[in-house]
Point group: C2
């Protein structure tokens, strides 16, 4: 496995690479969710086909609207490298900030429809930062396939749009959310939960599941307000706060009825200062 730390070195490697390249962009603090993205790409490689798998590790400051969140984002570089090695990654690209962004940077990329609500509304500038760094990685790595997790449901819709609108000849492989045995959606930020927060956190997904079951068995629309209220009650001792809880169409991210076959129940919440997101499709595909 090759570790590349500068843009220049990556460009040299890529210009000499004669096989197609797959990419998994990450911010490090790798967990099974990230490894499942690698697996999804690796499983598409045909017998006798040669492709390279690049995993990037870069905590992109431009996508953090909250400097405290950036400062406390978990870092586990040595573990990450070991996991990549075991997973059969070919190249780990881990640039530093001064290589990725110069002080006079003046080009921005914005998605203007899918990014206006939900996390886009709650985290101003977040998706501009995501679009910028993902475009840079696409331009440097020139992958033909890239994998993202469905847990970040809004990010995946926006990057699919970025690929289409900017004419990137890239296939986006969307991978199901990986969960802990107790149901909690895997996230690097879970490492920052206090013990009592972590113990209760599985209730988030359990609540989404219960709402799904209610919806399937009822002729009434889901009562989001009551779910919201109940969540806050259950978690109240933990400084728990729902950031948003709503039902959107899985593709357009526009508000929709819980009876729509593409309805996605989506949640963002704070446990203390840790922000977690999760979602569930109200109808199985």
């Amino acid at each position: 496995m090759k570790i590349i730390k500068t843009i220049q070195e990556l460009v040299e490697w890529r210009s000499q690479c004669e096989f197609p390249v797959d990419l998994v962009p990450t911010m490090g603090a790798l967990h099974e969710g990230h490894l499942s993205l690698c697996e999804a790409l690796q499983s598409k490689v045909l017998p006798n086909e040669k492709r390279y798998l690049v995993l990037s590790i870069y905590i992109n400051p431009k996508q953090f609207n909250n400097s405290n969140d950036l400062d406390n984002y978990p870092v586990s570089m040595n573990d990450d490298i070991k996991l990549c090695e075991e997973q059969g990654v070919d190249v780990v690209f881990m640039p530093n900030n001064s290589d990725m962004y110069t002080a006079d940077a003046s080009v921005m990329i914005s998605e203007t429809q899918l990014s206006v609500n939900l996390c886009g509304a709650k985290r101003p500038g977040h998706f501009d930062g995501v679009c910028l760094v993902v475009s840079k990685l696409f331009n440097l790595v020139r992958p033909s396939r890239v994998a993202f997790g469905k847990k970040d449901f809004q990010q995946i819709a926006i990057i699919q749009k970025l690929i289409k609108d900017l004419s990137y000849p890239i296939e986006l492989v969307a991978v199901e959310t990986k969960r802990e045995l107790d149901g909690l959606a895997m996230s690097s930020r879970n490492r920052r939960l206090l013990k009592e927060q972590r113990a209760k956190a599985p209730l988030i997904y359990a609540t989404l599941q219960a709402a799904k079951n209610d919806n399937l068995s009822s002729t009434e629309e889901l009562d989001i307000k009551t779910i919201n209220h109940n969540l806050e009650q259950v978690f109240s001792p933990l400084e728990f706060k729902v950031d948003y809880l709503t039902i959107v169409h899985a593709d357009t991210l526009q508000p929709c009825s819980s009876k729509n076959s593409q309805a996605l129940l989506v949640l963002a919440c704070f446990m203390g200062e840790i922000r977690l997101i999760d979602s569930i499709k109200l109808f199985d595909e």
Copy 2:
């Protein structure tokens, strides 16, 4: 020479192309200026080196702030193809609008420093449109070298910034302005000048040259207001109007003194409804 008319066909061609690719993006109505861009790239190819030269022809609606200008932009497809063939172009890429832009397009690219003044101020949205189409062409063609003309001095500065800020591993080859024998900067829009306008148009560059000579021989700063006034006087019967006339630093495009070694005297003007631009370096390199 191969003519490619769809994005899908281009992506297929590119994925099978095993040699580096050079790109000349144009809006067609080709003239010697465009051919000099091809020559600049061809002259960099080493003996025994195999590279492909792609020339794109696409009148990008997103970079026209004036629909009348778009509707009247000259088209000479058959002549263009013949010129490309004679010039040794390998691939002409000429997509149509519905292939390049879908109705729901929502991703935009903006340069926020170099594009605020001059043509950027006079043609709102123009450089956003340029950045968008150039990025799409970069993503599809994946060139390692691209040529642009110095006549569009602001465009070239902005695209150089786009390349840097979006980490495109692309070398921009900047080519000197090609002029008619009488000094008029070549432009596809020159074809639209009426006979009397065309007869007087060389005075634009002659005026810039005279200003340069004045500047070199004088200890005073250039008097832009007087140059402006004189230009309007000379051209007055032709519905001539200066859109801007100023001195900027060639790299930053910020206003600067005519005594600065990087000073560029830049002009945009209307002859009737035809907008022309030209520029001259006040000191030779």
